[in-house]
């Protein structure tokens, strides 16, 4: 993105153009871009995996419920829902991708206790 004061730069871009992070599906589409998928392909892939339309991907009203139902982390603070690594482990399974920190957690859990 680039440098600038938080409200003039980051928030302006977030409101003008961004997918909305974990408020919607921005984190999920971003993970597919890390796998070199361009935007339309990444959005279609995530929409298919979630069983929603591409337009729904950035609809915070729709995605708030979908994310809670899938238990993949939500933007507001809700006790009992998956947090952090728990949510990412579920996202890796949902999107059928490898997430580095999830793989590391599996290694740590599976390692013998000397």
């Amino acid at each position: 993105m680039g440098t600038g004061d938080p409200s003039g730069m980051g928030l302006a871009h977030a409101l003008a153009s961004s997918m909305g992070g974990i408020k919607t599906t921005g984190d999920l589409v971003a993970r597919m871009q890390l796998n070199k998928m361009r935007l339309p392909e990444a959005k279609r892939y995530v929409a298919d995996k979630l069983g929603v339309s591409v337009l729904d991907l950035t609809d915070s009203t729709v995605m708030r419920t979908v994310r809670e139902d899938l238990d993949i982390g939500v933007v507001t603070a809700v006790p009992g829902l998956a947090k952090g690594l728990e949510a990412k482990a579920r996202i890796a399974e949902l999107l059928d991708i490898r997430i580095n920190c999830v793989e590391r957690m599996k290694q740590k859990i599976g390692a013998p206790l000397r």
Partner: protein, 353 residues
């Protein structure tokens, strides 16, 4: 004739007629086309920009369904650092700031990075940096990069051990200046690879090499070679974001994959970045403070459209202060940032910003 209140490239308010704005948009696109030898904007794209800049609305945005991904270079410096990074020096540590970006600001991705942000000082704090990243990976959901600048300039005297080409070139010592750059770029490449691998070990989702080629073609070559090694040996996604629109030829003869690096424009840089194995490319188009924002946005999206037309990887053009049509000033106005932002996605066809 009524006038429209808009801004110049230094963010100063200016009143222009609709005809003046249209002329600036056409001329901005033509300026990019002439420099980069890329196509000018189509008529319907010019009309979009005219509508956008003549609209009195304070904020502009993309059409619903056209939203793109944000990647954030400079880490949390905008929150935690000083005016050097347009920072507000909020009383928060980096972990708290990253979590704010994830929840309060709803960013799509975020990044951890050292406040200085250059690889040379950051490598001495690698274990601390890795610890920050490792901790955050436990508590966040969004993809987390580790970001830094190769910043080859720090490897030259007085900051580093190598003779400074800026001292040698004015003395006509061209061969010595080139030799110094060749030695320095190898040291820089080694540091970039080493620090990247430290972050692989603590499960970064990706590495962001930012402000690439700030020290010219040798800086770009060091980064491309590092990217090639990191992506081929670790599989870690790498984002390469540039420092300026054209690669300056401080060396002049350096090549990557048989292509001379000096003088490359964004769509030409893209091809090498793809060959190096990067997952995301961030082209830069410089802002001209003496021209209107309409002229600058038109010029920027013309360059970026030429990049996205040929790309096989996601393109996240830089739209920070002083680039991508955004004015050059310490505190940027959201009216112009939101317009540059939307234009990059709607006309430039950017996959992200």
């Amino acid at each position: 004739m009524s006038t429209i209140i808009t801004r110049m490239g230094d963010a100063a308010t200016v009143e222009m007629t609709a005809d003046d704005l249209r002329r600036d948009i056409v001329e901005g696109s033509e300026a990019a086309a002439a420099k980069g030898k890329v196509p000018v904007l189509e008529d319907r794209e010019v009309e979009y920009l005219v509508d956008m800049f003549t609209c009195p609305s304070r904020i502009w945005g993309v059409e619903r369904g056209h939203e793109a991904i944000l990647t954030k270079d400079g880490s949390t410096n905008t929150i935690c650092s000083s005016r050097l990074s347009s920072g507000v020096c909020a009383p928060l540590n980096r972990e708290a700031a990253v979590r704010l970006f994830e929840t309060a600001f709803a960013f799509d991705t975020m990044e951890v990075g050292h406040t200085d942000y250059s690889v040379k000082p950051a490598k001495f704090l690698a274990s601390l940096e890795a610890q920050h990243l490792e901790f955050l990976q436990h508590v966040t959901i969004l993809p987390l990069f580790y970001g830094f600048m190769p910043n080859l300039g720090l490897y030259y005297r007085p900051d580093g051990p190598y003779p400074n080409p800026s001292d040698l070139l004015p003395m006509g010592k061209i061969a010595e200046a080139r030799a110094a750059q060749e030695e320095a770029l190898e040291a820089c490449r080694e540091d970039v690879v080493w620090l990247s691998k430290q972050m692989v070990d603590v499960a970064a989702d990706g590495i962001n090499y930012d402000t690439v080629a700030s020290t010219g073609d040798a800086d770009f070559l060091a980064t491309l070679r590092a990217c090639e090694e990191v992506t081929s040996t670790t599989g870690l996604p790498v984002e390469i974001g540039m420092a300026a629109e054209m690669v300056l030829g401080f060396h002049g003869e350096l090549e990557y994959d048989g292509v001379r690096l000096a003088g490359l424009w964004p769509h030409q840089q893209l091809k090498l970045v793809e060959k190096a194995g990067a997952a995301i490319f961030g082209p830069v188009v410089n802002t001209n403070t003496r021209k209107s924002c309409a002229w600058n946005v038109a010029r920027a999206v013309t360059f970026v459209k030429a990049v996205t037309a040929e790309a096989t990887i996601p393109i996240h053009p830089n739209v920070g202060m002083g680039v991508g049509g955004v004015p050059t000033c310490e505190v940027v106005p959201a009216d112009m940032v939101s317009r540059a932002s939307a234009a990059m996605v709607e006309i430039g066809r950017a996959d992200g910003l």
